[in-house]
C-alpha cells in the first residue's frame, strides 16, 4: 500500500437472499478510505445498511461485492486488531464485569493474573473499578456500554468499530459517554468507525461524516467537520453542519418517498 490509509473499502456491496428466494440489496457500491487515528461517523436513515456495512468491515458478515482491505490484507473473518462495540447488550451475563473485560486476552491465551491486571487498568480508565466483581445485570445501561467499550479496548485493537453504541441510552447518559469516548480516543489514539443515526452525535464526535442513502445504502456525501474539540453544541458551525446533513437526509427521504411511496422502509 502506498498511502497512510489503514482501511480501504472498494465497491463494497451486500445482497441478502430472503427465504422465498428474493434477493434484497442492502448495501451498494461503497468506497471509503479511513486514515489512522481518524474518527469517522456513518449516518443514515434506519435500515439503510450502515450496520451491515460495519459488520462487513468487522469480518462478521460475508461481503457480496467488492472488498474491504485492512493494512493491505483483505478482510474475510474477524481479527483481533479490529474491535467492535454493539448497540445491544453484549456482555456475557454469567460473567463478572472484570471477566467480561478480560475476555479478549483470555481468548488470546494470556495468563489469568496478567489479563486481570490489564482488565482492571481499563476499568479504571472509565471509573468502573469498583464494579469489577459485579455482574452486568447490576449495572445501568450507561455502565454496561462503558464496560463493553473497555472490553473492546482491552483486546488492544487498532481499529474500533462502533455500531450505534449509545443508541439505547437516555439523552443525558449518551452525552456523557460521547465525552468519555472522545477522552479515551484522544488518550489511546485508536481509529474509530462509528455508526449512528444521530446527526448531533456524529457532529460532536467525528472528524469526517459519511452520509448514507436509504436502502440500498450507498454513500451520498462526505463532510469534514473541522472543528476543535471539545465541541460546543452552541457553536454556529455546529448548527450549520446539522442543518446541512439533515437537508441531505431529507432530500434523500423525499426521493425515496417518490420512488417507493414509502419513507419508512421496514428495518433490516
Amino acid at each position: 500500500m502506498t498511502n497512510d490509509y489503514i482501511l480501504h473499502l472498494e465497491g463494497v456491496g451486500k445482497t441478502f437472499q430472503t427465504k422465498n428466494g428474493k434477493s434484497i440489496k442492502a448495501v451498494q457500491q461503497v468506497d471509503l478510505d479511513v486514515r489512522e487515528n481518524d474518527f469517522v461517523c456513518i449516518v443514515g436513515p434506519s435500515g439503510c445498511g450502515k450496520s451491515t456495512l460495519l459488520r462487513m468491515v468487522s469480518g462478521l458478515e460475508p461481503i457480496t461485492f467488492g472488498q474491504v482491505v485492512y493494512h493491505g490484507q483483505e478482510i474475510t473473518r474477524p481479527r483481533k486488531e479490529i474491535g467492535m462495540v454493539f448497540q445491544e447488550y453484549s456482555l456475557l451475563p454469567w460473567r463478572t464485569v472484570i471477566d467480561n473485560v478480560a475476555l479478549g486476552p483470555e481468548f488470546a491465551g494470556i495468563s489469568k493474573k496478567e489479563r486481570e491486571t490489564r482488565a482492571m487498568n481499563y476499568l479504571r480508565l472509565v471509573g468502573m473499578e469498583a464494579f469489577a466483581r459485579a455482574h452486568p445485570h447490576e449495572l445501568s445501561g450507561g455502565m454496561r456500554q462503558r464496560v463493553a467499550i473497555v472490553r473492546a479496548l482491552a483486546n488492544d485493537p487498532d481499529l474500533l468499530l462502533m455500531d450505534e453504541p449509545f443508541g439505547a441510552l437516555d439523552a443525558h447518559t449518551r452525552i456523557l459517554l460521547q465525552k468519555e469516548l472522545l477522552r479515551i480516543w484522544e488518550q489511546h489514539r485508536k481509529t474509530v468507525l462509528f455508526v449512528t443515526h444521530g446527526v448531533d452525535e456524529a457532529i460532536y464526535l467525528a472528524d469526517r461524516i459519511v452520509v448514507m442513502s436509504a436502502r440500498p445504502g450507498r454513500i451520498i456525501e462526505t463532510i469534514l467537520v473541522e472543528m476543535d474539540r471539545p465541541r460546543e453544541r452552541s457553536h454556529p458551525r455546529y448548527g450549520h453542519l446539522a442543518e446541512q446533513i439533515l437537508a441531505i437526509l431529507e432530500k434523500e427521504a423525499a426521493q425515496n418517498f417518490s420512488k417507493n411511496g414509502n419513507i419508512l422502509e421496514e428495518p433490516f
Binding site: R55, K80, W94, E106, H137, E138, A152
Partner: protein, 280 residues
C-alpha cells in the same frame, strides 16, 4: 418474620396434603378392606421402618437404592450423549437438518414400546456380563444393572435433554456470539465459553425434566424379566401377593425420591443461574 406468618405459611403448604390424608383415612376406614385401600397408619408404619425386610425381597431402602442406581446409569448415559449432540445440533444448522428428521421419528415412541425389541437384543444381559464378573459382591451389584432397563431409561431421558440443549443454544443471542468472535474467540472458545454457559440454564432444565421422565420409566423397566429387585419390581410383586400397603409404600417412595431429585435441580438453578432471572 412473626410467628403468625410462619404458621400461616406452613399451614398453606400442609393444608391440602393433610386434607388428602384425612380423606384417605376416612375412605379406608369406611371400606375396611386393606387389599383395596389400606389405612394411613399401616402405610406410615412401613415407611417408618425402611430397613425392614419386605415380602422376602429385601428392605425398602435397598430396593430404592437399586432403582436409583439403574436410573442414574441410564440417565447419565442419556445426558452424556444428548448434551453435546444437542449443542452441536443447535449451533450447526446443517447437522440439525441432517439429524432432526430421523430423531423426530423416534421421539413419539413411548419408552415402554421398546420393551420387546430391547429384550430380543439384550435379554437378561447386564453390566456383569459386560465386565465378565460372575461372582462376589461386584456381581450382585452389576447384575442388577440390566442393559434392557438402562436402555428404556436412557430413551426416556434422552429426548427432553436433547430438545432443551438445542433450544438453549438456539436462544443464545447473536450479539454474544458476534462479540466473542470479534474478540478473537476460536470455535472451541465459542462452544466452551459462550454456547455452553449461555445454554446451561436450559440444559439443566432439560436435565431436570429428563430425570423426571427417567424416574417414571423405572417401573416399566423393572417389570422386565430378569429383574428381582427395585421399587418397580417391589410394587408388581406386592401386587401379586395382594399387599396393597406395600404397593402404596413403593409409590410413595418413588414420589418422594423423584421430588427430592427435582429439588436438587431447583436448588442448582436457583444458586447458579440467578443471572437468567435478572437479565432482561
Amino acid at each position: 418474620m412473626a410467628l403468625k406468618t410462619i404458621l400461616t405459611r406452613i399451614g398453606t403448604y400442609l393444608l391440602v396434603p393433610l386434607l388428602f390424608l384425612l380423606l384417605w383415612g376416612l375412605a379406608a376406614s369406611h371400606l375396611n378392606n386393606e387389599v383395596i385401600l389400606p389405612g394411613v397408619g399401616q402405610v406410615t408404619a412401613l415407611l417408618l421402618r425402611p430397613t425392614e425386610n419386605l415380602i422376602s425381597m429385601g428392605s425398602l431402602a435397598v430396593n430404592v437404592a437399586v432403582s436409583l442406581a439403574r436410573v442414574l446409569a441410564g440417565y447419565l448415559l442419556a445426558v452424556a450423549l444428548a448434551v453435546p449432540l444437542g449443542v452441536i445440533m443447535g449451533y450447526y444448522g446443517t447437522v440439525f437438518r441432517f439429524l432432526n428428521g430421523f430423531l423426530a421419528l423416534f421421539r413419539p415412541i413411548p419408552p415402554l414400546a421398546w420393551v420387546p425389541l430391547v429384550l430380543a437384543w439384550f435379554g437378561v444381559a447386564s453390566l456383569a456380563t459386560l465386565f465378565d464378573v460372575q461372582r462376589g459382591t461386584a456381581y450382585l451389584y452389576l447384575n442388577n444393572l440390566k442393559f434392557s432397563m438402562i436402555f428404556i431409561i436412557f430413551i426416556g431421558a434422552f429426548y427432553p435433554v436433547l430438545t432443551s440443549a438445542i433450544h438453549g443454544v438456539n436462544g443464545v443471542r447473536r450479539t454474544l456470539l458476534d462479540s466473542a468472535r470479534v474478540l478473537g474467540a476460536s470455535e472451541g472458545d465459542i462452544f466452551r465459553k459462550i454456547l455452553l454457559p449461555a445454554s446451561f440454564p436450559a440444559i439443566v432444565n432439560g436435565m431436570r425434566i429428563g430425570l423426571g421422565v427417567a424416574w417414571m420409566c423405572l417401573v416399566s423397566a423393572e417389570m422386565l424379566p430378569g429383574s428381582l429387585s427395585g421399587v418397580g419390581y417391589l410394587i408388581t410383586h406386592a401386587y401379586t401377593l395382594a399387599r396393597t400397603d406395600i404397593v402404596i409404600v413403593g409409590m410413595v417412595s418413588i414420589g418422594v425420591v423423584g421430588a427430592l431429585l427435582d429439588l436438587f435441580f431447583r436448588v442448582i438453578e436457583e444458586r447458579k443461574f440467578a443471572w437468567t432471572r435478572l437479565t432482561r
